[in-house]
Symmetry: C2
Subunit: 375 residues, 2 copies
């Protein structure tokens, strides 16, 4: 089926896209359909607000990102930002700009993904905007969340001797992207319209790229254990970049141990296949949506054996700078090598910050700013 | 000066753009610079959230919209949505996608306009996202506001016998756009790079198009007079479209008097120059950002002579439908003829819903959905 968007018109499209989104949160007083949504924030809570802009050709490639996954991811990356403040996501607004090569069914698929994400995380769609676009697909998501008054965890609270922890594992989403790009290239070269990409044994890294999850579980686990991080953020641009953010915002330095960086087996296999440096990929790959946080040394016993959490280093005096302690005991200064959203057309190259990448990693500037950073 | 954006990098750009935005509202606990902003909503207030997506080539044309005005307008149209709920705008997030033909100075100009708007309306910039765009300029603004608990005015509260009021005058922004397009065409045809457009005596309609204001004053005036509208919305897609929204949401009909529609002298002159039907332009032009609201008949004395407010008709039983009462006492059914944001490339034609327009108004479908509608 291919229904032209213009056959529905904007209001018809909005009705179609939003009718399957019942409001589940008490705080969502009024959702879609008026000049603004009404949100009731409980008296003992503060509101959180975060936003992400996703642009075709910069942040995603519809040739190998299924639209439902794209919708899911667009929502989840915003939820991740709210969890990274120690909050709970409650509402989102979704604005989309769609060019004429997209049909109503395409947009349905994006919203099906958004709906799945909203259901999984208990979030209400309360508003947005739809428009034609003369060029590519544009998705802008804003997420509202709640946090207990005064309990939001910022990037700026890390203190000397704090332990640095990270959830899950790193570098997998980046390797998933490499895989997708490789198979896409092979498909193009084969000229076979029925070409089937080979993803066997690589399901995890693929899922990490296409359908990331936000670490709601980690925030809940920390809360249950009575641990309040001193600083926290999510890993969207790569561990290196995020460590530097926390160090800068907190006015501290850090030491992170190479052999403590959590890396999945599939990530390692893929890096080997592509002849990439594994640790560099894990440090700089980005899009992991894991939580990076610091806790007081006194919480060591609580986080040391916490499921899904790895202690990877500690906070130092600012004068010591930020460094990776290598396996041989040496120290490498940590530099942000996330991909630069301001070098359009080179995003793949810039992403390939991993040393020895077969793509032209050398083009990534040493201190390249990274994608999707909140202002 | 022309500074390439890539020379600053994303974080450098964000720092530059946001450093001149001090937080002025007590409710803005934490602004730009973390995973999310923190907003403290007073216990006796509810939060409002609204968002607008502006795309180059659909919503604006950089050939004749100065970037500072664009920034101002992008912010103000969101403030207008918050006022239309009987609220006060407090915070915005601004996401922009910029293609490589824009320089840092261009983006500076957009943010200068946003800053002016924020200062004029007492709003804080608390977050956003910046990215490269492989195509045109993308601006996504989300606005948070406050309203006293239970005092938000929706579209759905209009009751039979209620008076219909509108602020300011209508059709001017639309005529301003016609003027800009005409002068742009003349400039192109002249081939003279130093061509000076002729805007003499047309400053008002130009300002209405390029630098609209949100009707904060009307909301305050109503409050001071003790008038709470039963329904309210802002006029962004044209009076016809908005009347139908209120009728549909409230389950009512309406009668609006042609000779009561407020129209400025410059709007009338321009319509005559372009051989357009003035009332149709005023009913369907859009982008007025005036407030359309209904009040109980008992408030007639209070609104009848209120500065900047005109009573234009009344709410009827739903069975009577929505109609314009013409000067000769006849009735014309009201149809939404705002421009269709889903016919890219035809936006100018579709906007020209005014009958007899010299542009090809005939192409605008009779029930074309309109621009910028909140979901």
């Amino acid at each position: 089926m291919a229904t032209e968007i213009s056959s529905l018109g904007e209001f018809g499209l909005i009705d179609r896209l939003t009718r399957d989104f019942p409001l589940v949160n008490e705080s969502s007083v009024l959702g879609v359909g008026d000049d603004a949504a009404i949100i009731s924030v409980p008296a003992d809570k503060e509101a959180l607000v975060t936003t992400d802009l996703l642009l075709e050709g910069i942040h995603f490639d519809v040739r190998y990102v299924p639209l439902m996954h794209l919708g899911y991811k667009a929502a989840v990356v915003n939820f991740s930002d709210v969890y990274a403040m120690n909050g709970e996501p409650k509402q989102i607004t979704v604005s989309i700009g769609v060019s004429s090569r997209f049909t109503v069914e395409h947009i349905d698929a994006i919203y099906a993904g958004i709906k799945l994400a909203c259901e999984a995380y208990g979030v209400d769609l309360v508003g947005g905007d739809t428009s034609a676009s003369v060029t590519g697909l544009v998705i802008s998501v804003t997420c509202l969340g709640e946090v207990e008054k005064g309990k939001a965890v910022r990037r700026s609270g890390a203190k000397e001797t704090n332990l640095i922890c990270v959830s899950g594992d790193l570098g997998a989403a980046y390797m998933g992207l490499q895989l997708l790009e490789r198979e896409n290239q092979v498909a193009a070269q084969s000229g076979d319209p029925d070409f089937q990409p080979n993803f066997a044994g690589k399901e995890y890294i693929l899922q990490r790229q296409l359908r990331p999850e936000a670490r709601k579980d980690i925030v809940e686990r920390l809360r249950a254990a009575g641990v309040t991080p001193t600083a926290m953020m999510d890993v969207s641009d790569g561990l290196s970049s995020e460590l530097l953010h926390i160090c800068k915002a907190s006015g501290v330095g850090c030491r992170v141990y190479e052999d403590r960086i959590p890396i999945d087996y599939q990530t390692a296999i893929m890096a080997e296949e592509l002849n990439m440096n594994l640790v560099t990929a894990a440090m700089n790959g980005g899009e992991d949506y894991e939580l990076l946080f610091t806790v007081p040394l006194t919480d060591k016993d609580k986080v040391e054996h916490m499921e899904g959490v790895r202690m990877i280093g500690y906070i130092t005096a600012p004068s010591l700078g930020a460094a990776l302690v290598t396996r041989d005991g040496g120290e490498l200064p940590i530099r942000a090598q996330g991909w630069n959203a301001f070098t359009p057309g080179e995003d793949t190259a810039a992403r390939a910050a991993a040393e020895g990448a077969e793509t032209n990693a050398g083009e990534a500037p040493a201190d390249a700013p990274a994608q999707g950073e909140e202002k």
